[in-house]
């Protein structure tokens, strides 16, 4: 018997291996469902648009308070500014009267 006959043939191995049936009773449905449900629970919330985020921001209490305070401050400054503007206009008028004869 020569050495070729002693050795195993790859083709024989492959032919034999193709006959092997996969193990029976494998069912991955429950594992898959569990995994995809877990993914949904742990996944981050979907990203929202800029407008949605702004609307959410304006709904918050602290933002409403801050906006009210800002509006009051702006009104006070505008009132004071209006007085200053009137005085400035009066000064310009005077100046106009003084400069007019020239």
């Amino acid at each position: 018997m020569n050495s070729e006959q002693k050795k195993r043939s790859w083709s024989d191995l492959v032919h034999a291996a193709r006959e092997v049936m996969p193990p029976e009773g494998i069912d991955v449905r429950d594992d898959i469902l569990f995994a995809i449900q877990s993914e949904r629970r742990t996944s981050p919330p979907p990203t929202t648009g800029l407008l949605d985020e702004l609307a959410e921001l304006f709904r918050s209490g602290w933002m409403r308070g801050a906006l009210a305070a800002l509006a009051l401050t702006t009104g006070a400054v505008a009132w004071q500014g209006a007085n200053a503007a009137a005085q400035f206009a009066f000064a310009l008028d005077l100046q106009g009267m003084l400069l007019a004869p020239l």
Partner: protein, 196 residues
């Protein structure tokens, strides 16, 4: 066999559309319908039950995650087979990197064991033949291992392998030629005969 593109309506399309809309029940039905063919395909890569279950789960989980990108250009089953083959290839890569496989396959004991197996005169029984093949394929690079698994064990044509792995036909033929060459060399080293 390459899937015919649009030659007949995809019978899964209704369930896939429901699953795309988020229906777990529809996806469960798809898993039930296709898991046996995925098990048969992935069993070529992983003869051990635990590994096989992991690969099948990974395939369906990847399919679930990829569902929003699925287009009816190709049948769902063809798309699923693509995912399964890629999962098989990734598993081969993981196994080739794992400490255990490096520790076992690199030793002289492993080489001795291979030569002892090859010298056995009794014809192989199917289960041990599959184990033996995986023992040998573990010595090849992951892509070669994947290609030989699909070509020899699954008897898949080169063109279908190319389609499933998104490789060009020419590239796949060259890779298959090189994989066979490396396998032949390895088998010769360990005293096996190799005819195709």
């Amino acid at each position: 066999m390459p899937a015919p593109a649009n030659s007949q309506p995809d019978e899964d399309i209704g369930l896939v559309r429901e699953a795309q809309a988020g229906s777990h029940e529809a996806f469960e039905q798809l898993v039930e319908k296709h898991q046996s063919s995925m098990i048969a395909l992935l069993h070529r890569f992983a003869p051990q039950r635990a590994d096989l279950e992991d690969l099948v789960q990974e395939t369906f989980l990847n399919a679930w995650r990829g569902l929003p990108t699925w287009q009816p250009r190709q049948p769902f089953i063809h798309w699923l087979r693509k995912i399964a083959v890629r999962v098989g290839l990734e598993a081969c890569r993981r196994w080739s990197r794992s400490t255990l496989s490096r520790r076992v396959e690199g030793t002289s004991d492993f080489q001795d064991l291979l030569e002892t197996i090859a010298d056995t005169r009794t014809p192989p029984n199917p289960a041990s033949a599959l184990e033996e093949i995986h023992f040998i394929l573990a010595l090849l690079p992951p892509e070669d291992r994947t290609l030989i698994t699909l070509l020899h064990l699954e008897e898949m044509p080169v063109l279908e392998i190319a389609a499933l792995l998104d490789w060009s036909a020419t590239n796949t033929k060259v890779k298959a030629f090189r994989a066979r060459h490396r396998l032949r060399k390895l088998l010769k080293q360990h005293g096996y005969t190799f005819y195709e």
